[in-house]
């Protein structure tokens, strides 16, 4: 389910939203609102075009650094811009050289190239060379501001992810699991607690929540990382073969056993053995497993020799194992052996704020497999994803994104590109009223929530309820939109992750 990627703590997840793709017909002030500090480098040798571009961008709130030549760009030693707009026809110089120079200095710099109307081929070449977008002369103001805004948002997202990657460099889930929600941060903390020991961990979670990836993270992060990681799915193996698979067999042990065979325990020696879907193990195999765990030896089927094994056991199940014990389907003594430290993996519906980040991750993953031109998701499509209950969890999301990319004919997945069952879900209510319990915001009876934290919680909640709409959130909070923007900036927040995003 979950792929390779960064883990992002909940405290920073808000940055992933508020990517509002505005057209000129929408509120122009909202549509062009930049984040304070966004700097746009304008590289243009024509003074008229440069002045006009600068004026439009400054009018929209951006800080503009202007350069009239490749030389001027190379002589700049100040801080890197957020985004660059580069005229490809820089007189006798090459805009491509400027582009390469800028990207050499800052590989993540989104570059918007500007070409003459007749030079679409040049623009295509620039896109192939890594440009973020292209505009043709005469540049249209709304198109320019739209493109710059999206590029800034992309840049902010990349910067945040990098910062978080660096902050969480030691997190055991980094590089294994993608998530930014508080639920995923808590999961990371849980894993951290058990990673260095050999304590028996049981991963509890629905299908598609990433149990095997977390088990691999535990293995890779722990002292047994140099040993093998072996996974066996007990549900996929017939009861009659489970013993042989787990413990191996001797030649002639049963019909078809023409040679000795190592079981999973022996293959995992010195490493970690994941017993996936352990709740599906047959009663007979449960008995042998219990003995193996007690004795720390295995006896192959048909063999008589006790073979010592040194293996860390991690088990996983989508079932409620305690209920299975109560129902008599799972041995209680084995339960206590296996479930020393249970870790619950949250289903995707409990962490919808991770969906934008997961979408970005899957788009990148698909791009690595086969190049595609899809950069993001429309607001409507993202809303539909946020409403879906995701019974198949992240694995299902990956499948949906893959299908949508294949269906998508533009650079953005639209609602119509999603599978029909996602498109038909009812829309979120247009108007929401605050219905959150006071306990949620104020903490329990024993807890006093600091005012700053209280304010953050209220803002987050309002944005979540309004799916990232700052205007409606401000209304719910009883403050003006400008005040909310100011508070968001002061608290280092941005409208919540159920907003909109580009890859």
């Amino acid at each position: 389910m979950l792929g390779q990627g960064p883990l992002i703590p909940g405290a920073f997840r808000a940055v992933l939203s508020d990517v509002t793709l505005q057209s000129s017909t929408q509120d122009p002030n909202l549509g062009i609102l930049p984040t304070a500090g966004d700097v746009v480098a304008v590289v243009e040798d024509d003074p008229t075009t440069r002045l006009l571009t600068k004026s439009w961008l400054e009018g929209a709130g951006y800080t503009v650094k202007e350069y009239d030549s490749e030389r001027a760009v190379r002589d700049e030693h100040g801080p890197a811009p957020t985004v660059a707009c580069v005229d490809l026809g820089l007189g006798e110089q090459s805009g491509f050289d400027v582009m390469s120079f800028l990207r050499e200095r800052d590989p993540e710099l989104p570059t918007i190239v500007v070409t003459a109307e007749r030079e679409v081929e040049t623009a295509v070449a620039a896109m192939r060379a890594g440009a973020y977008d292209y505009l043709t002369k005469p540049v249209d103001r709304d198109r320019l501001l739209h493109s710059v805004r999206r590029a800034c948002e992309r840049r902010r997202l990349i910067d945040r992810v990098k910062n978080l990657q660096s902050e969480l460099g030691s997190s055991p889930l980094t590089g294994n699991v993608v998530g930014a929600s508080s639920a995923m941060v808590e999961l990371s903390r849980q894993v951290e607690r058990v990673i260095e020991s050999d304590v028996a961990v049981c991963l509890l979670g629905e299908s598609g929540t990433g149990k095997e990836l977390v088990a691999r993270a535990i293995h890779r992060g722990g002292p047994r990382r140099a040993g093998p990681f072996v996974a066996i799915n007990c549900a996929a193996i017939p009861a009659s073969l489970q013993e042989s698979e787990l413990f191996g067999h001797e030649r002639g042990a049963f019909t078809g056993a023409t040679q000795n065979r190592l079981g999973c325990f022996e293959r995992a020696r010195g490493g970690t053995l994941l017993l996936d879907e352990v709740g599906e193990m047959s009663p007979a195999t449960q008995a042998v497993l219990l003995r193996t765990l007690q004795e720390r030896t295995v006896r192959r089927v048909g063999g008589s020799q006790e073979i010592p094994v040194d293996v860390r056991i991690v088990c996983a199940t989508h079932r409620d194992l305690r209920s299975e014990v109560d129902a008599g389907r799972f041995r209680e003594d084995l339960y206590f052996r296996l479930v020393v430290y249970p870790i619950r993996l949250p289903p995707l519906r409990e962490r919808v704020e991770d969906i934008p980040l997961l979408v970005v991750h899957f788009l990148e993953k698909l791009r690595a497999r086969a190049p595609h031109g899809v950069r993001g998701l429309s607001a409507e499509a993202l809303d539909a994803l946020a409403r879906h209950p995701w019974p198949g969890n992240v694995r299902e999301l990956e499948n949906v994104i893959h299908r949508s990319v294949l269906a998508c004919r533009h650079d953005e997945i639209a609602l119509a590109d999603l599978p029909p069952d996602l498109r038909s879900l009812p829309a979120a209510p247009a108007d929401v009223t605050p219905r959150e319990s006071h306990e949620d915001l104020l903490g329990d009876d024993e807890e006093v929530v600091p005012l700053r934290e209280l304010e953050q919680r209220a803002i987050r909640k309002a944005l979540r309820l309004t799916r990232g709409s700052v205007g409606r959130a401000a209304k719910l909070l009883g403050i003006g939109r400008a005040t909310l923007y100011r508070r968001l900036a002061e608290l280092d927040l941005a409208p919540e992750a159920v907003g909109r995003i580009v890859a």
């Binding site: 040798d45 024509d46 003074p47 008229t48 075009t49 002045l51 006009l52 004026s55 439009w56 009018g59 005229d87 026809g89 007189g91 006798e92 003459a116 109307e117 002369k137 005469p138 540049v139 103001r141």
Partner: protein
């Protein structure tokens, strides 16, 4: 490629200006800015035309076509359509080393600039008198 005015020396079919673009700039930024932008354009194009004339006279293919090309971007930004069209034609001619036709088109470009300068100055004056008329 056929020229946009129906022949190298024929009457132009392209309008002098896209007034809508100038109006949009004024609306999006300010009238004062439009006047400043027009002033910059006139000064800059005058200087470019001098360099372009030198390059055409010296039969410098690459330099002449590059300068003609750059002029188009400048004209396009302000919606100066006919000047842009003539500059585009000059770029094609210089690229093809058709210097006889290039000389004629350069002369036409200079004429067109004189014409458009008057039009733009008039627009600037309108702006100034509007400002003066404001209470």
């Amino acid at each position: 490629m056929s020229p946009p005015w129906g022949g190298d020396n024929g009457p132009p079919s392209v309008p002098t200006l896209n007034r809508g673009r100038l109006d949009a700039i004024e609306r999006d930024v300010s009238r004062e800015f439009l006047v400043e932008l027009v002033g910059l354009f006139v000064t800059d194009v005058a200087a470019r035309l001098e360099r372009l004339s030198d390059a055409v006279k010296a039969r410098q293919t690459k330099r002449a076509s590059s300068l003609a090309h750059a002029l188009q971007g400048s004209a396009a930004s302000l919606g100066v359509l006919r000047l842009r069209a003539v500059a585009q034609r000059l770029e094609e001619l210089t690229e093809a080393d058709e210097w006889g036709a290039s000389d004629a088109t350069l002369a036409r470009l200079i004429d067109e600039f004189q014409h458009v300068r008057q039009v733009l100055v008039a627009i600037g004056s309108e702006a100034s008198s509007d400002r003066a008329a404001k209470p």
